[in-house]
């Protein structure tokens, strides 16, 4: 039962001052084992804040991140799953699922976490699953101003992942979940 937080595109301080208070009250230390961050935090303070939530933090570089030392991609293994992280601004067309599938095959991961579009998405294809946690602060994106703050919490348990989607809609936190099971056979390339 491993809890993994997938979060990103906060754009603090440029586009948003802080996380929504309702999100902040839920994110307390001690519950989450790993944090996967797609990028565009943008400043060190946000990095430190995430570190207080969980010491195991994985970040990839977004185009506005002030720390240039974050990697472009990252892969890690949690339990039975291989996870890959990439901000997504490098993948053109932005948010295109086929292109993202290419990246996934390239990184050879079961779950690819990307961002940049500021829209939550969970998509499945033969190669695996692509999850976009959206923007945690609801910052405007290159496409639209109408962004709901959202993030994702994954509960990895053996071969099964339960993806909890937290969205702030009209000032209320809405939680949905998605069940996803990895087939025992290796995913096709």
């Amino acid at each position: 039962m491993v809890l993994v937080l997938a979060i990103g595109d906060l754009h603090i301080p440029h586009r948003a001052p802080d996380l929504p208070p309702k999100f902040k009250s839920m994110l307390v230390p001690g519950k989450i084992q790993h944090i996967i961050c797609t990028g565009n935090l943008c400043i060190k303070e946000v990095h430190d804040y995430f570190k207080t939530l969980c010491p195991d933090l994985h970040i990839t570089r977004g185009e506005y991140d002030e720390d240039s030392h974050y990697p472009e991609n990252k892969t890690l293994t949690i339990g039975q799953f291989k996870l890959g992280i990439c901000h997504g601004h490098q993948v053109i067309p932005w948010g295109d699922l086929d292109s993202l599938a290419m990246v996934q095959r390239q990184l050879d991961v079961d779950i690819l976490v990307t961002g940049h579009t500021h829209q939550f998405k969970a998509y499945k294809h033969e190669g695996g699953v692509v999850i976009n946690p959206g923007s945690a602060t609801g910052a405007f994106s290159s496409f639209t101003y109408d962004v709901n703050p959202s993030f994702v919490l994954m509960d990895i348990d053996g071969l099964r992942v339960v993806v909890y989607v937290y969205e702030l809609i009209d000032g209320e936190v809405k939680v949905d979940k998605i069940d996803f099971k990895k087939t025992a056979t290796a995913s096709a390339h």
């Binding site: 039962m1 009250s25 994110l27 998405k121 969970a122 499945k124 998605i178 996803f180």
Partner: protein
């Protein structure tokens, strides 16, 4: 030492019981010396007498109506017999109090169960400490006889058990289960009761030790397995969260929230279990045996903590659980040993029920809390040994809380070595007055036995002594404790 024998007086009148060693020698010396000069009987030359008398506190029986003639007197050789007063000598001294009971039998409180006996007329031999003496066997036989009856007579069982339960044959495990009310007196019901209780425990474990992921999965019961097969690609469908349950939930009733709150307690339990009896391979070390025992202890304590939200887990409960689990796990009966975890759980609950209030912080200052028990001990001491009480509490200002807290809450498990504490527990569990009353008496006896040192000491030395109670003769200690009972009723 001369072999002073009573053999000449096969059936002496009761009044001729020598009250002191001096009397004894005096009355028999001449006749025996004369006898010795004439001839040395064969039995004297037997190798039995070449073993040195034991020093670990055997009380040698002084038979008035010896049906056997040979060895009784030899017992008198090494042991001076003193008047039965409240013993003032320190435990290391070789005093062997003897007391005669109004009944014809001579009962000695000797829970180390070597040479005291009950209604048999066996000899007490100078058996080597590690061997099993005939009296030990007789006590074992008595207990086995009692246990194999169709309906166990509790009074009888308590009486025999209070003298100490022999270490062999897994008797202690069964006797403790009976004394704690886990096994019913009717033997025929044992198997059904055991099966019921064990399955109950298994159910507790399944319910309470599940993590929230498994619980939510169970709650849903929907078949999500075929989801991945139905569509090879496309947006994954979102579904509603049941009951608002998600891992970051802050609701009081949320299983996730409760789970994270329990994590703290579980960590505490884990730490304490790892520290239990680090010197014993059974509990501590790298062996898989130790690991599985630790896991069992942990599970029991976690289940208990979850079932008792009022008291949860308090440090020290692991020490009370440890002897129970040890005894049950070392039961030679395979089936019993395998179910030791479940049995220990229920017996732990039962044992703790009498002492629960000691662990509840809110009750500390109430009439049932630990402070009140400690003051009862203090009062008890005052009744029995005012001089010592005065010296301890008033002159040297040793607050009983400094030492008695651990004695009482942990049921003396930390004050003596493991084997000794098992013997003490035999008495605690079997005494009809109940474990708490007995515990107070034993604590009082502990104080009285070191009174000489205490009276001579100041605050520092007394505190040091009481917090590191010297290892002593347990049979003597329990004898004194028993004496306190009979004196209290005066």
């Amino acid at each position: 030492m001369g072999f002073l024998v009573l053999r000449e007086k096969k059936n002496p009148s009761p009044i001729s019981v020598p009250q002191t060693f001096v009397d004894f020698i005096g009355s028999n010396l001449d006749s025996n010396l004369a006898m010795a000069k004439e001839r040395i009987p064969d039995w004297l030359n037997s190798s039995l007498w070449s073993t040195t008398p034991s020093v670990d506190g055997r009380l040698h029986r002084f038979s008035l109506s010896p049906t056997t003639t040979t060895t009784t007197a030899a017992a008198a050789v090494s042991e001076p017999i003193v008047q039965p007063t409240v013993p003032v000598s320190p435990p290391a001294a070789a005093s062997r109090p003897q007391y005669t009971v109004t009944s014809q039998k001579y009962e000695f409180r000797d829970p180390i169960d070597k040479n005291s006996n009950n209604n048999s007329n066996d000899n007490d031999q100078n058996a080597s400490p590690s061997g099993v003496s005939p009296d030990d066997i007789s006590r074992q036989a008595q207990l086995l006889a009692e246990l194999s009856k169709k309906v166990v007579n509790f009074r009888e069982l308590r009486r025999i058990a209070s003298q100490g339960i022999p270490d062999g044959a897994g008797i202690r495990s069964t006797v403790w289960k009976l004394l704690l009310g886990y096994l019913p007196p009717d033997r025929l019901q044992w198997s059904s009761e055991l099966a019921k209780k064990r399955s109950e425990y298994k159910q507790f474990k399944e319910e309470l030790l599940m993590n929230p992921t498994e619980i939510t999965r169970k709650l849903e019961k929907s078949a999500v397995d075929d989801h991945s097969k139905s569509e090879s690609s496309g947006l994954l469908s979102r579904s509603q969260v049941t009951h608002g349950e998600h891992p970051l939930s802050l609701g009081e009733s949320s299983i996730w929230n409760q789970f994270f709150q329990d994590t703290e307690i579980i960590e505490q339990i884990d730490r304490d279990v790892k520290r239990t009896h680090p010197d014993m391979h059974f509990f501590s070390g790298d062996l898989p045996l130790a690991k599985s025992n630790q896991d069992a202890l942990k599970d029991i304590l976690i289940v208990f903590a979850k079932l008792n939200p009022g008291i949860r887990y308090v440090q020290g409960m692991n020490e009370i659980l440890a002897p129970l689990f040890y005894v049950f796990r070392n039961d030679p009966d395979e089936e019993m040993a395998a179910a030791a975890e479940a049995d220990s759980f229920f017996c732990f609950v039962e044992l703790l029920s009498g002492f629960r209030d000691h662990f509840c912080k809110q009750l500390d200052n109430s009439t049932v809390g630990i402070r009140s028990t400690i003051s009862r001990l203090s009062q008890f001491l005052k009744e029995h040994d005012e001089e010592l009480w005065r010296h301890l509490e008033i002159t040297t200002k040793v607050n009983p809380q400094f030492y008695a807290f651990r004695w009482i809450t942990l049921l003396l498990t930390q004050e003596f070595n493991f084997a000794d504490s098992l013997h003490i527990w035999d008495t605690l569990l079997s005494d009809p007055e109940g474990p708490l009353e007995t515990l107070l008496r034993v604590c009082c006896a502990m104080l009285i036995l070191v009174r000489r040192r205490l009276l001579a000491g100041d605050f520092t030395s007394n505190l040091k002594l009481l917090q590191n109670y010297p290892s002593s003769n347990i049979s003597h200690l329990l004898y004194v404790a028993n004496k306190l009972r009979s004196q209290a009723s005066n």
